[in-house]
Symmetry: C2
Subunit: 330 residues, 2 copies
Amino acid sequence: MDYACLRQVYSRPAAQWPAPHVDPGVAWRELAPLSAPPAQDKRQVDLGKRLFFDPLLSRSGQIACASCHEPDLAFADGRRVSFGHDRQAGTRNAPSAAMAGHFANLFWDGRAGSLEQQALMPIVDAAEMAFAIDPLLERLRAHPDYPRAFADTFGNVPIDAAQVGKALAAYQRSLTPRRGALDRFLLGDGKALSDTQLHGLHLFRGKARCLNCHQGEALSDDSFHNLGLTYYGRRYEDLGRYRVTGRAEDVGAFRTPSLRQVARTGPWMHNGLFGDLRGILNMYNAGMFHPLPTARQKDDPLFPKTSPLLRPLQLDAQELQALLDFLQAL
Amino acid sequence: MDYACLRQVYSRPAAQWPAPHVDPGVAWRELAPLSAPPAQDKRQVDLGKRLFFDPLLSRSGQIACASCHEPDLAFADGRRVSFGHDRQAGTRNAPSAAMAGHFANLFWDGRAGSLEQQALMPIVDAAEMAFAIDPLLERLRAHPDYPRAFADTFGNVPIDAAQVGKALAAYQRSLTPRRGALDRFLLGDGKALSDTQLHGLHLFRGKARCLNCHQGEALSDDSFHNLGLTYYGRRYEDLGRYRVTGRAEDVGAFRTPSLRQVARTGPWMHNGLFGDLRGILNMYNAGMFHPLPTARQKDDPLFPKTSPLLRPLQLDAQELQALLDFLQAL
């Protein structure tokens, strides 16, 4: 790899970079530095932050939003799956809340279409905070401080569910991960990426085909893909987006996660079953999994189909290392 | 650095390695591979494991030992400080429980002298599980399964506190981190450490003076040292071992933590205030902190004294990188 030449190519504006390896029909956006969070009502943000860290939002009074979305853990929880009320184990890995404001589709399966709507759903989920909206509102209305804080923020009384959702959404929109080495590079600091990281960037956009899904500022297309990890008919089966849409083509599809701070948000994938980023790159390099139906399954319309975007990549060991180094820069 | 020569030197048995840089009077033990856990009653281990993950041990029924000592997070919790009952923030970073069986002094300040004693203390700590022994025993005795499990394990009835402590201790003694690259190297796989990691090993024992405290199989001397992080008279003040012994020389001393899996147990130090291993190496390289008393403090017998083991190391950038690489091998 001629790093000097590569550095010259990538020192030009992004519009003049080599064309990425993106499949026909894929709407893609170039990588971009993190922008500042949108201007917001500071009172809403402050109230939302208080609520986010307050275990009063759970039935037991012990579980806060932050219990599974912890700032010290890049707003995830570092566990394979999260634990909710009575320490029930969930089925999915807690996604980082730090980039939540960048998505229109919330949750791994996109079952919420706005952060305002999303924010209330873990509160009432029986396996998560296991509470209900009415007793939560009663608790907030009877609290020594919250009634005033809500009134100061929203004007109208009494506290209602929409206000709780709005405040939590405002706080999450205010979150922005610290700018990483990639951001500094994209903003003009040519030295922010090492030689191997720059090589990784080139592969990410090119031969490794990552930009097909991980793109733009959020390093996600905010869309749904089947990586062959449906575990159809087996332990860990998760039908993903299908449970929301009921469409056969959505079986086993999950929303592309942001890769911001990805090195800090393990274990990975919707089920948290993958604890090693190098192993994940090896899986992508092999083309991911394309399970074939058994004789009994061959007429099953729900048999999951792995996305055709995934195919063997022929990356050698040096290229895999470069990609791994690049992931540290996100 | 002549890596070939270094590799030759360290390919000999450890007894023939270069003498470490250890101060006079320091009782030191050579680095050693992780041994198998001691033989134990399997029923005690199984019962202890069940208790370790059961939130029934907390007043709220929501917090288990594993809430702060999570297998997915190397038996720590990844947070600056842990959160207990009603999401109260503690003052210290959760140490990994994975190496607990290797210590005679438990907790950062050594206030428990056995794992059996230690195991009950978070249960009754008002800021942690906030329960009490009698109602815990009542709850266990009234449980559909535990009475039989305890009787099968310990013979005598009814369930008592000593049995709970014994089972939890047995489980923790059964934990052994997966053997890392250092173990494989010490067991004879000369290729287990890279060139820079081998250089790091040499520095760890030598110029960087780490073996003065981080030694033996556990990478800890199980003793107490003041690193200059007492924050005396300031926010984050923590008098450490002094609170247990009442001896002035113990002000601000904390037990040497194991470095096993250290790259996975951040944030670091007793207060969890340090989130970057490279930054910590820089601090050691500068000789750590040696706060001097103000005029008003100069006759204060409790003014903390940083351990004389800590002094500037004169490590250059390449050496710091080698040490950092070595820490990944533990």
